[in-house]
Symmetry: C2
Subunit: 448 residues, 2 copies
């Protein structure tokens, strides 16, 4: 009777029921599932099943399920609802999740939703709403349990028992002074193992720094990772406690960040896996349009050498090899840099070292693979000169790939352009142009 | 006096001290930093600073810092040590971390380390070691706090006070029966707010299923994400409690999984950002070698049409455009699929739908961009036929890109080949070959 083995079979049962059109059965199974599992089921379903599943939710499940959906799907689900319905829905969620949702709604709708809320709740939400969602303030929730340092554990326990329950992921009580400034943290697991006569001051930890409210979300994620935190207090510039951030929101930041690098490098606007053709095609089209333009730029380089190609048609056969090797090597260097930037590993102290290393790798692999390509080309077309030309061009292009693949993202970052988005197309344009130019240029020098 | 603002300045101070060669200053600053922050500092430093920083660590910091390093760096640091030194070092870590380290050491060394440990500790470690590190068993730690359902909270609290401290990330006590089978969870935050006379049975939660010990690590990560867990119990096939998994280890799994997709698609073996030239060049070279072979395959397709290219040299100018557009579109579809697979979104119910959608997107974008390319080519070379040829080839290649980009990873998965590693090179080979073949084939039909 192990219930973990139970999960896949629930999905399978839903699957069968959905195919058979047995809606009542589906509803019965969904009612037993956790909000996260239902959200997963919805986001891994094609559009028509999605709508059906959403309609089947019990009112008390709905808010939690909608909140666990990926952002674009969540927004699509909420966009058509009345302000009253929205206010009722978000009431059941954490402050930071409510703020997230209100951020995405049109301003007039979110204004109406706020107006319906009661005064005290509205103020809490507005605190969080006043920060962009990519800094600590936008990730925090304001439902903190605070205590003073001079209490004994006995008093703390009696105080805690006045609560029906503590907020989720509460691993620490936050110790503040009279001015509500952050002083330290008291792990609940310390409270439960300690003598009731001990005071908070004796047992609190003071070496976990609070997070300033304007710290970027990515930096918040890195601190959680490095220090294995479950939650962390958020303070303003003067140390006044504003709220706390919990690991579940940090996990979302980590996933979104990783996803951003992956999709951007492939030329995808962050995209719902199950978006319709009409949603996806234009988003992908933008990237194809840019690529068409840069490919034409590369072609115009080739067109400069039409005379040489007419004389030695083998050049047309071999030239894509030089461009393609440069593209692969450039993408390798670029990915290393973008990954390191996302992990916060790049600083003034190491960036020149990195560009140097990538260039050296280009040189070394250039020597090896230019030689192999030279032998292959010379043997294929029985022409030593052709071998030398392809070797020279490939060596130059692989060094270019290393320099550009590492240098360009650093430059883009300085210009405040997202290197994950712009880097791929720029680097391959450079390696295409340099590849064709050196190969056909050298050929013109020898054969022209 | 906000200490969060303190962090960057510590790194900067270390930076200055390192450059000035003031080793004593560096040691002083490092001694104040958390293990995670020091590990970050080390992993973002070029090789020579790394060794210096590692030497400066206090013995009691060393184990924690080494444990927080990325795997390859950690292994490099430990590989040369004596078994006694290793045993002393790992003693300070969680079971799952010790098992992780021992997994990576040569068998005779890990055997020697185990032999030095005391009997009880060795047995715990061997339990974890007996599972591969990509399933729940390899992620778990065996230091659980278990209780029985018939206790009152008063008794639970007295029992807890016999501990000096609870293991990190202990948010729940695990309720088991006499046979040590998992029964439910009792959140510590429930214990501290409840009346001491209440029994565990009344307040425990039974709807969080335990994780079976052979569940894949990626599936464990998804359940944590979906349900916002901080820790989860691990059981064997009959429900007997074996250990628990904590969120910090799950975050590592999530990051490694995302990193794997990113680096594999770029043709990188998972790579340390600051590896030396001699470490990186051969790893990258493998991918360049494979690409050289597939590029030559594409070239051999071109060589079939040398006669046609000699007649119409404009074909050589335009043919890279067709191949390049196919490559971009194919990579887009491939990335969508690999991302969805990593998120566990692919199942029998939706995979045909996805291949169909990707093909349709290829068709739609094919119609749009083939038309644009046709107009541009016809205008550039003042040749309507050339426009028609490029349009036909590009349309076919973008549909091919959709079909292959979505279909190939699904096939590779069935063949148990990692689509993130093999997918990129296969998809672009197909789009290159199909691009050159259709474009030059059509041209030969019209001009040949």
């Amino acid at each position: 009777m192990n219930s973990s083995a139970d999960y896949p079979s629930k999905t399978e049962r839903i699957d069968l029921a959905l195919r058979a059109g047995a809606v009542a059965d589906v509803a019965g199974i969904v009612a037993e599932m956790s909000a996260g599992d239902i959200a997963y089921l919805i986001s891994s379903s094609p559009p028509d099943f999605r709508d059906l599943l959403l309609e089947l939710l019990e009112p008390e499940q709905e808010a939690l399920v909608v909140n666990e959906l990926p952002d674009d799907l969540r927004n699509a689900t909420l966009i058509d609802r009345e302000p009253e319905a929205l206010a009722g829905l978000v009431e059941q969620l954490d402050d930071d999740d409510v703020a997230d949702i209100l951020h995405e709604l049109p301003d007039d709708v979110s204004g109406q939703v706020l107006a319906i809320m009661d005064e005290q709740y509205r103020q809490r939400i507005q605190t969080v709403l006043s920060y962009p969602d990519n800094v600590a303030g936008g990730l925090m929730s304001t439902d903190t349990i605070t205590i003073r340092a001079d209490l004994t554990f006995d008093v703390v326990l009696r105080y805690l028992r006045r609560h029906v329950e503590l907020p989720p992921s509460t691993d620490n009580l936050i110790v503040v002074n009279r001015a509500d400034r952050f002083v330290g943290l008291l792990p609940i697991r310390t409270v439960v193992v300690s003598d009731p006569a001990v005071s908070v001051r004796e047992m609190m930890i003071t070496d976990q720094a609070a997070i300033e409210v304007d710290t970027p979300a990515t930096e918040v994620a890195r601190r959680f990772e490095r220090n294995d935190w479950v939650s962390a207090p958020v303070v303003d510039g003067r140390g006044k406690l504003l709220g706390r951030i919990t690991i579940d929101d940090v996990v979302d930041v980590i996933k979104e960040e990783a996803d951003h690098s992956l999709t951007s490098l492939a030329g995808l606007a962050e995209e719902d896996t199950f978006a319709t053709v009409w949603q996806s095609a234009p988003r992908r089209g933008i990237w194809l349009a840019i690529n068409l333009a840069t490919a034409m730029l590369a072609s115009s380089v080739i067109s400069l050498f039409q005379g040489t190609i007419e004389k030695v048609v083998a050049l047309a056969v071999l030239m894509p090899i030089v461009a393609s090797m440069g593209g692969i090597a450039g993408t390798q260097s670029l990915t290393i840099l973008i990954r390191a930037m996302a992990m916060g590993h790049i600083n003034d102290r190491n960036q020149l070292w990195l560009v140097g290393r990538e260039s050296l790798i280009g040189l070394l692999n250039g020597i090896v693979w230019a030689s192999v390509a030279a032998i292959a080309a010379a043997w294929w077309f029985e022409d030593m000169t052709l071998g030398l030309i392809i070797a020279g061009a490939m060596l130059l292009n692989l060094i270019t790939a290393g320099v550009t693949g590492a240098g360009l993202p650093l430059m883009l970052e300085k210009l405040k352009i997202d290197p994950a988005v712009a880097g791929g197309v720029l680097v391959t344009t450079v390696t295409d142009v340099v590849g064709f130019l050196t190969f056909l240029g050298l050929a013109t020098a020898f054969y022209g």
